[in-house]
């Protein structure tokens, strides 16, 4: 038997001892938040809201069903997808500092959308397809370029490659903006780059729903397996996984859902970076809980940011600005806090 004492103090590796229950609570919070947010907005104002409003006020009814509901559902999906993709990227690249935006995916999608708006058409389907194609290309370029860099370790090379590819795409977007028709096309592209969910309709929501649902279900189903992909390839291989195949499936799933939500919401930054960190702090590193935790927290975070974006000022503030502001602040706080969950 062990020579070592067996009653060592249990250093908490996560904030909760009941991750399943907490996930359930978070799910309920998300649903309640969406329900509550239906009533938040400039019309009719919270103070004027009575029980009878919904049944009597036709304008309010249409507002809620045609505008707020699809928008809130899209916000929730957007947050879930970006956070899930962020968690997958951070595991696969064994690096807590990557997110889809760091590897050329978001900038690629933005370029694809801008290109489509200017040269092809601005119908939702076309824009989304083009965004998805260029999102994959962005990732592919980053990956291939990282292989060729002759400096530093793999992770550093990947991040450097991602920065370079993102910069290429964003300067290309700059050129496209310069070429764009300032009255019709430029506002559309600018909207994209700032990220925002105004004008989301049911048809837009439904157009991304299939891809997003399939992608999220795949990622969710493989959530335990994702752990193995953060280990070295030969280790996960010797454990019986097929690292290349499983990595490809999860990467394609993540990029597809990212491209889908970015195509309707534009570039909404920091969700994919901050939320997985937060989830790991709460649920521990095991992706069995951290991944669904990321999804739910991402949904809650984005719906909250979107509520703020549309209610704080008379005019709407782009969502991307809020997620970046709160996300970056949250990131600074988490990263500089005294490892609150890991006290010994």
């Amino acid at each position: 038997m062990s020579q070592l004492e067996t009653n060592v103090d249990k250093s908490g590796f996560r904030l909760t001892n009941y991750p399943e229950r907490l996930l359930l609570c978070l799910g309920i919070v998300l649903v309640l938040l969406i329900a509550f947010s239906l009533f938040v907005g400039r019309y009719p104002g919270l103070s004027n809201l009575t029980l009878g409003t919904f049944s009597n006020d036709d304008l309010f009814k249409r507002l809620v069903i045609n505008l707020r509901l699809p928008r809130l559902l899209t916000a929730a999906l957007l947050g879930m997808c970006l956070a899930a993709a962020g968690e997958v990227f951070q595991m696969i690249f064994a690096n807590p500092l990557v997110e889809p935006g760091f590897l050329g995916v978001s900038q690629g999608a933005a370029f694809g959308a801008a290109l489509c708006i200017i040269f092809l058409s601005s119908t939702a389907l076309m824009v989304q397809t083009s965004a998805a194609i260029f999102a994959f290309l962005g990732l592919l370029f980053s990956y291939l370029f990282a292989h060729r860099i002759r400096y530093g370790g793999w992770v550093l090379r990947l991040v450097l490659a991602g920065i370079a590819v993102s910069a290429l795409f964003s300067s290309a977007v700059g050129i496209l903006k310069y070429l764009a028709d300032p009255l019709r096309q430029l506002p559309e592209i600018t909207y994209w780059l700032l990220g925002g969910l105004w004008g989301i309709t049911w048809s837009q929501f439904l157009s991304i729903l299939p891809v997003v649902t399939i992608g999220l279900v795949i990622l969710f189903s493989m959530r335990w397996r994702l752990n193995l992909l953060s280990l070295e390839d030969q280790t996960s291989f010797s454990l019986g996984a097929s690292p290349s195949l499983e990595r490809s499936i999860m990467l394609i799933g993540s990029v597809a859902i990212t491209a889908a939500v970015v195509s309707v919401g534009g570039i909404v930054g920091w969700v994919g970076l901050l939320v997985p960190h937060l989830a790991r702090r709460i649920f521990g590193s095991d992706t069995r809980y951290a991944l669904p935790g990321s999804m739910l927290l991402g949904g809650v975070f984005t719906v909250l940011c979107d509520d703020l974006a549309r209610t704080l000022l008379a005019g709407e503030i782009p969502l991307g600005i809020f997620t970046s502001l709160l996300g970056a602040l949250g990131f600074i706080i988490i990263m500089s806090s005294k490892r609150l969950s890991f006290q010994k």
Partner: protein
């Protein structure tokens, strides 16, 4: 005579560069229930050999038979139920608890969409018990000492319930006390029927534990066979290309070199 558990026949392997042949017409046999040590200088091909046995690397020429069947005829899952690897060291990027980490060894028994069940948890706990770290399951893996980490890597491999355990320099970074723990653990496993193949740079570790010895030099088997027969001054000298002497002291073999 029984056929060997592992049979490497005329293996040639190179890492894709010209004239960079790591293993050259390499043949060896491993009998079931043995502890085989692989000794040889740096770059002799020891780690490559383990990766070939795992199926991670594929030989350019030659066959590897596991229990009389070609290695390629086994599925990924079957193979990882047969064999587990304890790597020399491992980069663990996230702060897993010891139990979560050891649980990864249950992968061969779970399909890609399956979550570990109570049974898997109890297998992982059993393995932790076996390496003497039963009380460690809620500790963070990143906070353990080198010796404890090595034992955890072994525990993860044991959770795979392998019949063959491959270890890449299992005692390389350990102090004497921990070396002793690892050696005793391996002996104990062997008594339970696990066939063990380990590479090492330390002749005294090999002489402490191995029943069989394979001496490698420049990608070729210099000598292989029963430990006592191979572990001689002449053989070690020609493997390491320096003057090595093996003495017997109180029933232990001691290696001196200059």
């Amino acid at each position: 005579m029984n056929s060997p558990l592992l049979d490497l026949q005329e293996i040639t392997f190179s890492y894709g560069y010209k004239n960079n042949i790591v293993l050259d017409s390499f043949s060896m046999e491993i009998e079931s229930g043995t502890i085989t040590a692989v000794l040889g200088p740096n770059g002799a091909g020891k780690t490559t050999l383990l990766h070939l046995l795992l199926g991670w690397l594929k030989p350019g020429v030659g066959n590897i038979l596991l229990d009389n069947h070609a290695l390629q005829s086994y599925t990924r899952r079957e193979l990882s139920q047969w064999m587990a690897l304890v790597p020399q060291s491992e980069n663990i990027p996230y702060e897993y608890s010891v139990l979560e980490f050891v649980l990864f060894g249950r992968t061969p028994y779970l399909n890609p969409l399956e979550m570990p069940s109570e049974k898997d948890f109890s297998e992982a706990s059993k393995a932790l018990n076996m390496v003497g770290l039963a009380g460690f399951q809620d500790r963070l893996i990143t906070r353990l000492s080198g010796g404890e980490r090595q034992l955890i890597l072994i525990a993860r491999a044991l959770t795979q319930k392998p019949r063959i355990l491959l270890l890449d320099e299992p005692t390389a970074h350990l102090d004497l006390g921990n070396k002793n723990r690892v050696i005793n653990l391996l002996k104990q496993l062997n008594q339970h029927g696990v066939t063990i193949l380990l590479t090492t740079h330390e002749p005294d570790i090999a002489s402490n534990i191995a029943t069989h010895l394979i001496l490698l030099n420049r990608g070729q088997v210099l000598q292989a066979g029963l430990f006592e027969k191979v572990f001689t001054s002449e053989n070690l000298s020609s493997a390491y290309e320096i003057d090595v002497r093996v003495f017997s002291l109180d029933g232990h073999r001691v290696v001196l070199w200059n």
